[in-house]
């Protein structure tokens, strides 16, 4: 006690380039680009936005050039505000980025070849749909990594889940059984991950990559041998779409959030349950303890390896559901490499979301938005080639993971195998 009486906080060196200043500067530059470049490139045609899922009944129009310049200035202003005030980081960053995007939209729509309207309802709906597998995948990652097992095998879990859903759904003519099988498919990869990572302390990133290759190979092979030869094994049917009365009529949000298959509602539920359970329950406390300091948990009688096994298997269930999205919602059959790298974006979403369920959920929505925007802008033939628009989620990922998250802190024991008595 004596020693601590006179403790002083160690003073951080007051570096000029704080995170707020750096981000503020970048946002300001983006704002300048938006104002000058987008403003110069835009035509005087108006950009139209409708609130429903189609372009009819356009509800809002913004003159192209004026919109590009005005929103560019908003982006610039918010960037400057962050730079000088160094406060309200989230607020200014969101305003600036949103304004930048709208400025860019004003320019692109005013120059689009085949249309001048964006259906915001459709944009929201596509955003949620594109985000679904990322949500399931990133929550799978959170479940594993919070407990100290690195999960690079999300892609494999999704792919195996997608295959199982398609196959079992076709054989039983029951999409619900397909859904359950998808979960089992995810668990299968999870069990392999747990077996090698926990039981045999294999380097976890390596085993994750190996499992992804394995899942790609085995599902590809089975697809060619079974499904390609007989389409009856590859028609799982699709999950019914449920509209929630009244709520589904809300403009923009209704078609996205209150219209969808069980996987849409399930995603929200999974995020909420995991977020609450991690912070508020005994399971959550122990899971986090095992991910941070397994030996400490062990000395208090927590079964470290048992908990890791349980959580990794649970992660398989979650990712498996995400896999079912591919073969029963976005498509109604399986093809080789159907998931196309979504598992890796989900991994990025987990990191972008700082290993938190809500954060991962928001990150998944952000990535989903980038993808949805690319496909909508592509459909009205805007001046940017669709190849670039399709890169948008990946570019967003790199920027997000590299710079915009700030100090990222993974669970301390993430990826570190734990052996009792060492």
């Amino acid at each position: 006690m004596t020693a601590t009486t006179l403790d002083t906080a160690v003073v951080a060196p007051a570096a000029y380039w704080t995170r707020a200043r750096k981000t503020g500067l970048i946002l300001t530059v983006l704002g300048v680009i938006a104002t000058v470049v987008f403003g110069a490139l835009a035509s005087s045609r108006s950009a139209h936005f409708s609130f429903g899922t189609d372009v009819s009944g356009a509800a809002m129009s913004i003159p192209g050039r004026l919109g590009a310049i005005v929103f560019g200035l908003v982006a610039l202003g918010a960037g400057l505000a962050l730079y000088f005030t160094q406060a309200r980081y989230g607020l200014w960053t969101s305003i600036s980025l949103a304004a930048f995007v709208i400025s860019s939209l004003c320019w692109q729509i005013s120059r689009a070849a085949t249309g001048d309207t964006i259906a915001l309802g459709l944009l929201a709906q596509l955003t949620v749909l594109a985000a679904l597998p990322l949500i399931y995948g990133s929550i799978s990652g959170v479940l594993c990594e919070k407990t100290g097992v690195v999960n690079v095998a999300i892609e494999g879990q999704l792919l195996t889940g997608a295959f199982f859903a398609a196959f079992v759904g076709s054989v039983t003519h029951n999409p619900w059984l397909g859904l359950i099988a998808a979960a089992l498919g995810g668990v299968l990869i999870s069990a392999l991950l747990a077996f090698f990572a926990i039981r045999y302390v294999v380097e976890q990133v390596v085993i994750g990559i190996v499992l992804n290759s394995f899942a790609l190979g085995i599902t590809g092979y089975l697809y060619e041998q079974i499904m390609q030869k007989n389409a009856a094994y590859n028609s799982p049917g699709s999950l019914p779409v449920w509209e929630i009365p009244l709520l589904s009529k809300i403009p923009i949000l209704g078609p996205a959030v209150f219209t969808g298959t069980i996987l849409t509602y399930g995603a929200f539920l999974v995020v909420a349950v995991v977020a609450i359970a991690l912070t508020r329950t005994r399971w959550g406390l122990r899971t986090r303890a095992v991910g941070e300091h397994p030996t400490a948990a062990d000395t208090l009688g927590v079964r470290v390896l048992g908990l890791r096994w349980a959580n990794v298997l649970m992660a398989g269930v979650v990712a498996g559901f995400g896999g079912a999205y591919f073969s029963m919602v976005s498509a109604t059959s399986f093809t080789k490499n159907l998931t196309g790298g979504a598992g890796f974006i989900a991994l990025a979403a987990m990191i972008f979301g700082r290993w938190q369920p809500i954060g991962a959920f928001l990150a998944a929505l952000f990535f989903g938005f980038a993808g949805a925007l690319a496909s909508i802008l592509g459909s009205i033939a805007t001046p940017i080639p669709s190849a670039f628009l399709n890169m948008l989620p990946y570019i967003a990922t790199i920027f997000a993971v590299a710079g915009l998250v700030g100090r990222v802190r993974a669970p301390a024991a993430d990826g570190k195998p734990w052996v009792k008595g060492h």
Binding site: M1, T2, A3, D7, T8, V10, V11, P13, R286
Partner: protein, 557 residues
Amino acid sequence: MTARVHKNLAHAPAMRSAGTRRSPLRLELRGITKRFGDLVANDQISLTVEPGEIHALLGENGAGKSTLMNVLYGLLQPDEGEILVDGRPIKIKGPGDAIAAGIGMVHQHFMLVPVFTVTDNVMLGAEQIRGPGGFLDHAKARKLVVDVSHQYGLPVDPDAVVEDLPIGVQQRVEIVKALTRDVDLLILDEPTAVLTPQETDELLDVMRGLKAAGKSIVFITHKLREVKAVADRITVIRRGRTVGTAAPDAPESELADLMVGRSVLLRVEKDEAVPGRPVLSIADLVVADDRGLQAVGGISLEVRAGEVLGVAGVQGNGQTELVEAVMGLRPIAAGSIKLLDDDVTAWGTRKILDAGVGYIPEDRGVDGLVREFSVAENLVLDTYAKSPNGTRFALNRSKIESGAAEKISEYDIRTRSPLHAVGTLSGGNQQKVIVARELSRKLQLLVAAQPTRGVDVGSIEFIHKRIVAERDTGSGVLLVSSELDEVLSLADRVAVMYRGRVLAIVSPDTPRDEIGLLMAGITGKQPLPADTPGEVREAAGDTETPDAEADGEETAS
């Protein structure tokens, strides 16, 4: 503090959650044997802890004390022997069984989750639950922490995040954690290793209070002074065996002999230093730690030829960063470092070494040795490209090995051959490999950080002699150690570091208490240099109860 405990006990019926009140517990270990491969860590150890006694387990590093306690706590399974509680043999398969049997443990390396709050740490594994679904009852858990900490006089803030707490407070959290589990026997594994002398005294008070409350304590340590201060009975362990029991009034020399098995020089014999010109001159040095926070805050020091400058201080007060900055291993934010007449502030490590600086790093496993390399290879890590060990392009293996053989005999390195991997050697012999390597060059300056950490007493003596011998050849020595005894016995001048500053430079004959206060940041005459007192108050208030602050001031005045 003892008094306070008694007072509180009088009106404190056990607030604890579950479990019936046990009578004080009698523990008996019979013939415990634990082997790791060829090594017999515990060899037929028997031990009885009577109810309500403080039983000290005394022994050197590596004597097998911690192994024995890990067996008792269920972290390791014994190969032979049995454990009896109140006369009944019990099986302890894991820490859960130990806790259920009324045995708690405070580990040498704290078992706290750094990012959790105190309450979360305390309840982990024995959570307060409300309703179905396993929802945590934070309020109840928090109250338990507060109650137990009041009952036993262990002030902790239940809502503080553990990583923000000073070490001494973290230790209190550990004790509170054990006590909330309703244990009757508490194992304290080297609890004073990380504490300042004053914190140590407080811990000893807490131990007396716990004893008064009917708890038994097993106190593991290698520090004789503490044992004599607090123990009721002493069991000495050497090389995995019990070599004797003693009463606390046995003379220190007798205990030391039991520990080591032969007479040990507790003080290093050395002549008066003959300081020459300054070898190392540090001016206004500022260095940041890994997190970018200021670790060294404007230090000026001078090490002269032919003297040992000892840096004392509790670990984590900037010593590591200071040494790394001197060695060119860490960027320097401000200030300058001069070696003889050269300004070396911007020099790289290789250049600094070549200028005649030897370096014994504090963590030999990480910075001092390549564990997989042989003893011979480790002995030339700095000179492999120089004659006769090799050229720029090739190694001269035979010369390296014959050179290694010489050093192995000169420095008494116990290895089966020069070609054995250095990782297979004991800690003391690994350290001797480093010392041999560093001292075999012609040095101007030796930087020795924790040179005898985790080293057996025999090797400590040897390393100390070599350091003094190096001084006597006219080199300057910068010695950094968190073992105050080591600093006091080796140094010619002692610089006390606290929070990145040198609070004072004193003679090694200064009374321990005075240096202890300096290590705790209390200068006696004035408050801390520089920082505004207002800030100091605030920061202290975050982690300390008003009670504790009052305690601190009493001691300070």
